[in-house]
């Protein structure tokens, strides 16, 4: 192993959180190195307009995603089962390479609701302790919505998020989401143009007394220059967004929002195709001395640094802490330990509507974040008392694509092949729409992450093991939501509506979402969290953790808006407080 000269900051992973951390800390004058296990990637070469729109290569063969041969997890539904490796990623698809999953995300960019943050005390206050599901381990966040608001705002501005405010400093705005937390400012760019499905949803939802509004999206609707001075071009609704890189500079990503200015800073260095294997600790176990990494030629390097930032994506942040022996592994039998605790996911389901032959949806003209939403059944917007479950979901009618390998619909009962299949496919094509939902996923005692006893990665280190299932509370919530999606679909004029209820057990094969939350949650005490409210590790104060692994439980929204806000929240603390007293905990345990 060769030892390299010391840096002020080493960042593990150069995706969404890593690139933001790197840029802000390099701007603050620190010497920063980011170590990324995938290749360098940029728009002109890797997401070229002549190669990017390729369904087989990207969506089916998963060319730019993390390859399981490099790293995967093992999975099971309950602690008494034997976990087996996820040999092919399906349910979620982690990123790999510069830009991380920020390259091929869908861009739905949400703020959680204020009551998502004080979730436990809010629910107990409103419904009583006995209303919480059995074995629920939900807990309050150590930060409030009000504290995060300026950071949500800045992340949205860096991305150029398109949308319409519903609540400007307490004043309800027509056309926006009346249930959202207050916003200090309007969205940076106006909403995307609606397609037919969004127009029908808007009308139907309004008729049903709901409050539809455009999906806040990381597809900029107009030419835009972000606060870093990086310029973006308007989205062209190409229909190759989620699972693809954007050739148009329209989808917010590290490539389109941060890297062009980050790379100009000479006190920043990126090292690609280099995988961090371990965070190194001083003998006292209380200070990180840097990281060890292996480059693609198999050489091992030690990179010393004063500050270590884990930005390797939710799941891999947790695994790196485990492999580095930082923190105490959670044990579901005793409920003791915090690392790996409170793993949660997302509970998505919806209804499919078949329309008559004169309704031409043209979903091929779509964008990752082209959608019309309603939040009337999200969070605790509605009274849960009569329903007997907690949590909720946003209702969504999106037009993202009509890519034909995956997005083909036939009526129920149609054969999967042959002449009848062809006829039904042609008759149905372009005449269906979906009303979906992004549902909350709360934490439970027996849903957690730890190291697998059997399966190893190519370097011989244990894979992480995921134990997860959808619980009755979530399934019940989702059944209620799917019934609501069906009502909207009916009101949109569908001649046939098929409800697709969420069913357990959780299956690793069909894509659901890459919204893996928890495992290194933030909290007020070391007893129920891995890091403090500034995302600083309780045991090793010069290690900070980013990403959705910080969430104590997941809300009825996609995570990245909150991940971005937390990144800027942590940066604020690092720049303005930590660096004045480096190595010291900012919260006394």
């Amino acid at each position: 192993m060769s030892r390299l000269p010391k840096k002020d900051v080493v960042i593990i992973g150069l995706g969404w959180t890593g690139s933001i951390m790197a840029h802000e800390l390099a701007q603050a004058g620190l010497d920063v190195v980011a170590i990324e296990r995938g290749p360098w990637r940029d728009t002109a070469s890797d997401y070229n307009i002549g190669t990017a729109p390729d369904e087989l290569r990207y969506a089916i063969r998963q060319d730019i995603f993390l390859r399981p041969a490099q790293e995967t997890l093992t999975a099971r539904n309950t602690p008494d089962q034997v976990a087996l490796p996820i040999r092919k990623y399906g349910s979620f698809l982690p990123g790999n390479g510069v830009g991380g999953a920020g390259v091929h995300w869908n861009g739905h960019t949400w703020r959680f609701m204020p009551t998502d943050f004080n979730l436990r005390s809010h629910l107990v206050g409103r419904y009583g302790e006995g209303f919480l599901p059995e074995h629920s381990t939900i807990q309050d966040w150590p930060v409030s919505y009000d504290e995060l608001e300026p950071h949500y705002d800045f992340f949205e501005k860096v991305c150029g998020i398109s949308g319409k405010a519903g609540n400007l400093r307490g004043a309800t705005q027509a056309g926006g989401n009346p249930f959202e937390g207050w916003r200090s400012d309007e969205y940076p760019t106006p909403p995307l143009k609606p397609n037919l499905a969004q127009n029908l949803f808007h009308k139907a939802a309004t008729e049903l007394g709901l409050h539809p509004f455009p999906l806040p999206g990381a597809n900029v609707s107009t030419a835009y220059t972000n606060p870093y001075g990086v310029r973006m071009a308007p989205c062209t609704y190409c229909g190759f967004c989620e699972w693809f890189g954007c050739a148009n500079y329209s989808k917010s990503s590290p490539q389109t929002c941060v890297l062009p200015v980050l790379m100009r800073q000479t006190n920043f260095e990126a090292r690609t195709l280099s995988e961090v294997t371990k965070i190194n600790l001083a003998p006292d176990g209380k200070t990180a001395t840097g990281v060890t990494y292996v480059d693609s030629a198999g050489r091992e390097w030690e990179q010393p640094a004063d500050l270590v930032l884990l930005c390797a994506y939710s799941l891999f942040n947790v695994r790196l802490l485990m492999l580095s022996g930082i923190g105490t592994q959670y044990d579901p039998a005793t409920g003791k330990g915090t690392l790996g605790r409170n793993y949660a996911y997302q509970t998505n389901a919806g209804s499919l509507g078949y329309f008559d032959k004169d309704t031409h949806f043209n979903h091929f003209a779509g964008a990752g974040s082209l959608g019309m939403m309603a939040d009337d059944f999200n969070g605790d917007v509605f009274d849960h008392g009569p329903h007997g479950f907690i949590g909720g979901a946003n209702l969504a009618c999106n037009s993202t694509n009509a890519r034909p390998i995956s997005s083909r619909v036939v009526p129920p009962g149609t054969p999967r092949w042959g002449a009848q299949w062809k006829k039904a496919t042609v008759e149905t094509a372009n005449h269906t729409a979906n009303v979906g939902s992004q549902g909350s996923s709360y934490s439970y005692r027996d849903c957690y992450l730890d190291l697998d006893p059997t399966y190893k990665d190519p370097l011989g280190r244990p894979l992480m093991r995921m134990t997860f299932d959808f619980k009755e509370n979530e399934l019940k919530m989702s059944r209620f939501i799917v019934d609501r999606t069906a009502e909207v679909m009916q009101a949109m004029g569908a001649k046939q509506v098929v409800k697709n209820y969420k069913r357990g057990p959780w299956d690793v094969v069909p894509y659901q979402t890459t919204h893996n939350t928890g495992g290194a949650v933030m909290g007020n005490t070391p007893e129920d969290s891995v890091v403090n409210r500034y995302t600083q590790h309780w045991d090793v104060p010069n290690v900070f953790v980013s990403g959705a692994c910080l969430f104590p439980q997941n809300a009825g929204y996609n995570p990245t808006g909150t991940v971005g806000a937390l990144t800027y929240w942590a940066l604020d603390a690092i720049k303005n407080r930590y660096l004045k007293n480096p190595g010291q905990p900012m919260v006394q345990a």
């Binding site: 995938g38 360098w40 890797d46 062209t236 609704y237 195709l273 480059d295 003209a365 009509a402 092949w417």
Partner: protein, 249 residues
């Protein structure tokens, strides 16, 4: 490594995906941008078989033609190039599951929620599955080959596979059974019929024309300007469209 572009690295290692062949590097001071650097897929041209034997290809031709029979909606799966597509996919990294996690131990009793748990990669699944299917036909249809059966007989065999009512020789779950093999064949056929024609199937975009998919035009602001209208423009693929090459659309 200023002198060495990734394109170099790519060509030096032929078909190996660039992310596994390139070397780690240090980048600072500017975006490491190189003119004309892009990573197009290799254009598949029909002619010869890269993985399948001639006998296997004849069988796959017959199968993809039952999956996608010729009628006024489209030419057959065979004429659309599905067999060529499957052959070339099997010859590439997909055929060996090069990118997947294939370390043992392989469980004898995986949960239904645990996805792929067979040690057999697609090349082996096709080789062993087609051999077992050929043997089955020989036994059941008086020595005939699958492609010599009538269309109805072929459909009957495929339907039995789909329902897992046919035993593929010694093969069984979790290794491979009739339903698993059927699902793989159907999935790969549909991929071939609907993937970009650069991969050898969907010849002249017949699959896209059938479902009205306009392909890779990449700018549909005209559609959003007027939602709900019938869209009539012909499809475009990443290799263009026939009219651009002097052939009728």
């Amino acid at each position: 490594m200023p002198a060495l572009t990734r394109r170099h690295l790519l060509s030096a290692t032929a078909l190996v995906a660039f992310s596994s062949s390139a070397l780690g590097r240090s980048l600072t001071g500017s975006l490491p941008w190189q003119p004309n650097e892009a990573y197009p897929p290799q254009l598949v041209r029909p002619g010869g078989w890269y993985f399948l034997t001639a006998d296997e290809a004849a069988m796959v031709d017959a199968i993809v033609t039952r999956f996608i029979p010729a009628d006024d909606l489209s030419p057959s799966g065979k004429d659309a190039g599905c067999t060529v597509f499957i052959d070339r996919q099997l010859a590439g990294p997909y055929g060996t599951y090069e990118w997947l996690y294939m370390k043992g131990p392989f469980s004898a009793n995986p949960l239904p929620t645990q996805g792929i748990q067979s040690p057999l990669v697609p090349q082996q699944q096709y080789r062993q599955g087609l051999a077992a299917l050929a043997a089955h036909c020989r036994d059941q249809f008086g020595g005939k080959r699958f492609e010599q059966l009538t269309g109805d007989e072929q459909d009957g065999v495929l339907r039995a596979m789909e329902k897992n009512e046919l035993q593929l020789g010694q093969l069984k779950r979790p290794l491979l059974d009739a339903k698993m093999f059927f699902d793989l064949l159907l999935q790969n056929t549909m991929e071939g019929f609907f993937a970009d024609p650069v991969y050898g199937g969907n010849r002249d975009m017949v699959g896209w024309k059938m479902v009205g998919f306009p392909g890779t035009r990449y700018d549909f602001r005209d559609v959003l300007a007027n939602p709900g209208q019938v869209y009539n423009k012909p499809p475009v693929s990443i290799i263009g469209r026939p009219a651009w090459n002097g052939r009728p659309a």
